[in-house]
């Protein structure tokens, strides 16, 4: 992870200029927009601090009417730029599509969730740098990062629980490679849930290591737990991977619902895991059977 030199999220056009070697105002001079009405936002991996020499820039133009997406060359920065329109109506709908998930919620299945495309767009807009300041300030994107974080975390927790069932089923059937793979997927989604709760709301799995690297740099992660998420250890054995996935999933659930890291984080058997359910901690056996257990998490 130390080989991933991440940067913080860019906050201003000047931040972006320093990062790209060209000021975004020169990019705007190639763009067709209404300067008094449209909001132009820069986003993407470079803004987010994960980008590299090949990364392009995403521009979102918030305007009244839709226009086809286009790709333009930003010569001053030697970058490609993807330009998309987000209509004001779409922005409002997107904002409304993100549900508020209550702090103590442990309902891991029943909540209606927006599609991945909506969540991804909400994330990109939430980190976007405004390049224009129109007369009317009534329609810049307003997303609660905390709300977005909980949606991303919740979606990953739901998926992680499902992959856990797959992993245990494969393990009990002797499909060790499939069990390892689905346990690894469980772990990945659990890590993504954790990262979201720490403010890393990019929902794309491709940036998992970047998210962890930045959290590592900020010393905001429980290193003892997540440094184990390295390929070297994962490849050791299917059982180890199952236990690591179980502990990470439980930890992410506990941070989601209670804001604390649990100890112990997994049972002694590789095919079992703890789960937070309301005020109880359950022991999940073989993926589906669950019984309440005495766990420090539920003690006064």
């Amino acid at each position: 992870m130390s080989a991933f030199p991440t940067q913080p999220v860019a906050r201003t056009a000047d931040d972006l200029a320093a990062r790209l070697g060209a000021h975004p105002l020169t990019l705007l001079e190639t763009l067709d927009f209404d300067p008094l009405e449209d909001v132009v936002l820069a986003s993407g991996s470079i803004v987010e601090g994960f980008g590299n020499e090949e990364s392009d820039v995403d521009l979102f133009v918030v305007r009244r009417h839709a226009r086809p997406a286009e790709q333009i060359r930003w010569r001053a920065a030697e970058r490609w730029v993807d330009v998309s329109t987000v209509t004001q109506d779409r922005l409002r709908a997107l904002s409304n599509a993100l549900p508020e998930i209550a702090g103590g919620s442990t309902d891991w299945t029943g909540l209606p969730m927006p599609g991945l495309g909506d969540v991804d767009l909400a994330h990109r807009l939430s980190i976007a740098v405004p390049l224009t300041h129109p007369l009317s300030e009534s329609h810049p994107p307003r997303f609660s990062v905390q709300r977005l974080a909980r949606v991303v975390a919740y979606q990953n927790l739901v998926t992680a629980r499902a992959r856990w069932v797959d992993a245990i089923g494969a393990w009990r059937s002797g499909q060790s490679s499939q069990a390892w793979w689905t346990a690894f997927l469980t772990l990945g989604h659990s890590v993504d849930a954790y990262c979201a709760l720490m403010g890393e709301t990019n929902p794309s799995p491709k940036w998992r290591w970047a998210r962890l690297a930045r959290l590592d740099k900020q010393r905001r992660e429980p290193l003892s737990l997540f440094r184990r998420a390295s390929f070297e250890q994962l490849c050791d054995s299917c059982e180890q991977t199952l236990q690591l996935a179980a502990s990470t999933l439980f930890a992410a659930q506990c941070i989601f619902a209670r804001g604390i890291i649990p100890e112990p984080s997994h049972p002694s058997e590789p095919h079992q895991r703890f789960e937070l359910q309301g005020s109880q901690v359950l022991l999940v056996i073989d993926g589906v059977r669950a019984t309440p257990v005495d766990h420090p998490m539920v003690r006064p």
Binding site: A17, H23, L25, T26, L28, E29, T30, F33, D34, P35, L36, E37, V40, L131, T132, H133, P134, L135
Partner: protein, 224 residues
């Protein structure tokens, strides 16, 4: 301004004189831009955009100038009455339907921002509004805008716009008005044969929409 028969010696000479005056004004303005830029101790990106916008406008590169002005007025610090008016003027000159709509919006924004005693910019905004409304055949609005412009500055070009609007209104659209971009990036108003005013004169009217005789120094951009 007294009308001259189209193509006459007097009218052509008047045209040439006005063209010379206008170009001299633009040249002086470009010099002022260069001087101002060189004098700055610290130059921001917005300063550069501002310089490019005005210089391109003075040099007659209207499409490029509009792009730079769009960027300039999209920024809080760049959105001065002067910049908004200059953008509106360029859009009126280009004269496409969308341009005229934007010119009206830009002129109104300039009026919102301009100080009450900033008669030059208030005149400029109303004058541009008159030009935009005229091309949209909204002759009553054009007339009213030209009347408002005259309150701030007695100007023969605004007076001509006023007469055009009045003539168009009273003749129930007897005068056909449309914008034409010349090869030099300038604008003329094409009038029907029965119009009182010659197209040559109208060319001068809009071509010289800068308040000639007032050379703007860049610091005045910020003051509006």
């Amino acid at each position: 301004m007294k009308s001259q028969p189209p193509g006459s010696f007097a009218s052509t000479r008047l045209l040439l004189q006005r063209l010379r005056d206008t170009q001299a004004y633009f040249l002086a303005s470009l010099d002022a831009e260069i001087e101002q830029l060189e004098r700055k101790v610290s130059v921001s990106e917005l300063d550069l955009v501002r310089s490019r916008a005005f210089a391109l406008a003075y040099a007659g590169h209207e499409d490029l100038a509009i792009r730079s002005f769009d960027v300039l007025v999209s920024q809080k610090d760049g959105r001065t009455p002067r910049a908004l008016n200059k953008l509106a003027q360029l859009l009126v000159r280009r004269g496409a339907e969308q341009d005229l709509e934007r010119a009206i919006k830009s002129s109104k924004a300039a009026l919102e921002l301009a100080r009450d005693d900033d008669h030059i910019e208030r005149w400029f905004a109303h004058h541009n509004l008159a030009g935009a409304y005229l091309q949209r055949r909204e002759f009553d609005d054009a007339y009213n805008a030209a009347m408002r412009a005259q309150e701030y500055r007695e100007d023969p070009r605004t007076e001509a716009l006023l007469r055009l609007s009045e003539a168009a209104s009273s003749r129930d659209v007897a005068v056909e008005v449309r914008a034409q971009l010349s090869e030099r990036g300038m604008i003329s108003l094409d009038l029907s044969p029965d119009a009182d005013l010659s197209s040559r004169e109208s060319l001068i009217v809009v071509l010289g929409a800068e308040p000639v005789g007032v050379v703007y120094r860049p610091p005045s951009h910020d003051r509006g």
